[in-house]
């Protein structure tokens, strides 16, 4: 059965929201890592 226009619109809205949440989680865990490990994280010999 074909999706109705309303269902397509709702699915698109959910997909965008989920994408934004996942992006926010990436930033969140990055920030937690940097804060927890401190500035020394960037001060390592290569």
């Amino acid at each position: 059965m074909e999706l109705t226009e309303a269902q397509k619109k709702a699915r698109r809205s959910r997909s965008i929201a989920l994408g934004l949440v996942l992006a926010a989680l990436v930033v969140l865990f990055y920030v937690i890592t940097v804060v927890k490990l401190g500035p020394g994280l960037f001060d390592r010999p290569m």
């Binding site: 059965m1 999706l3 709702a10 959910r14 965008i16 929201a17 969140l28 920030v31 937690i32 804060v35």
Partner: protein, 315 residues
């Protein structure tokens, strides 16, 4: 893509239908208005707590507490869809309105609960995370599933869940539970019955229709009014404790005394409300003032915690 269509004759949220709910409906599952109170009181708990927390970690901790509170709301709506459908105030929520099915709401709530607790544990500490997990469990299981439909003391005991966020905020900073954080808990815990029973008085028809044993429906209006006064007095006393115990200023204490007198005064107005009063204006005023009361008490605690460091910076 092949999917089954939405069948309006199916039982509430029972069928594996394709959700018509958009992102706003999922956001509504989080009970944003309750969440804003959780965020505010948790922030006050963090600010009043002695010690320092990295601002980024503090922000993430508040976010986790907010999401955890939202998860409780989603789990509450998952379980209460049948009650929500018959109450006017809640009949347009996403599940009773048919925009989100119950299994989806359950999965959404559990996922958010797990993520918020583990992220708070990783970012702040595991005591704060444990308290958040306990809050979600208490609200979703002890209050929603067990107490709400079985005893008129439902919101008295269940109120503990709503009172925990400042303790979580405090624990996120200090890593402990102290007398001061218990006092913050106590203020909201004692405020909750007076606040909710004022609402239950003028919404008793709705609650009766849904079969929820709220105090006015079980013990009657007269007994409920007396108990509202008792809890208003206890709330007013507890709100002065931060000054009495020395973790808030005399200025805060003065604000708490004046507001407490107002809270008790409004509760006496409810007590004097004649039997059979259909408009119940004093109960509506009490409900409105109770919201203002808690906002100002916690707002005053926040100002009290922020002013000395700001003055030190300026001086």
């Amino acid at each position: 893509m092949s999917v089954t269509s939405t069948d309006e004759n199916l039982p509430l949220g029972a069928a594996p239908i394709l959700s018509d709910g958009d992102a706003r409906d999922f956001f509504a599952l989080l009970k944003p208005r309750v969440m804003s109170l959780v965020v505010f009181t948790a922030m006050v708990g963090m600010l009043v707590a002695p010690g320092h927390i990295n601002p980024a970690i503090g922000f993430i901790a508040v976010l986790c507490i907010a999401i955890g509170g939202g998860a409780s709301g989603a789990l509450n709506m998952w379980y209460e869809a049948d009650i929500d459908a018959v109450m006017k105030r809640t009949s347009n929520r996403p599940i009773p309105a048919g925009r989100i099915d119950r299994p989806t709401a359950l999965g959404f709530g559990l996922t958010l609960a797990a993520f918020s607790v583990f992220t708070l544990g990783l970012a702040a500490n595991w005591l704060a995370a444990g308290l958040l997990a306990f809050t979600i469990f208490f609200y979703a299981v002890v209050y929603t599933i067990w107490l709400k439909r079985s005893t008129p003391q439902n919101i008295v005991i269940g109120g503990a869940a709503g009172a925990l966020p400042p303790m979580i905020g405090w624990a996120a900073v200090t890593g402990d539970v102290s007398v001061a954080s218990v006092v913050l808990f106590l203020i909201i815990f004692l405020w909750t019955p007076a606040h909710f029973w004022a609402l239950a008085l003028f919404k008793s028809g709705d609650y009766g229709k849904a079969g929820i044993p709220m105090m006015p429906n079980v013990a009657g209006d007269a007994s409920t009014k007396r108990q509202i006064v008792v809890y208003a007095v206890l709330t007013a006393i507890s709100a002065v404790l931060p000054t009495a115990l020395g973790f808030a200023s005399l200025a805060y204490g003065a604000v708490a005394v004046v507001l407490g007198a107002g809270f008790v005064w409004y509760s006496i107005g409810v007590l004097r409300m004649p039997e059979g009063d259909e408009k119940m204006i004093p109960a509506k005023k009490m409900f409105g003032f109770s919201l203002l009361y808690l906002a100002i008490i916690f707002g005053a605690l926040m100002v009290d915690a922020l002013v000395p460091p700001l003055l030190a910076m300026v001086g």
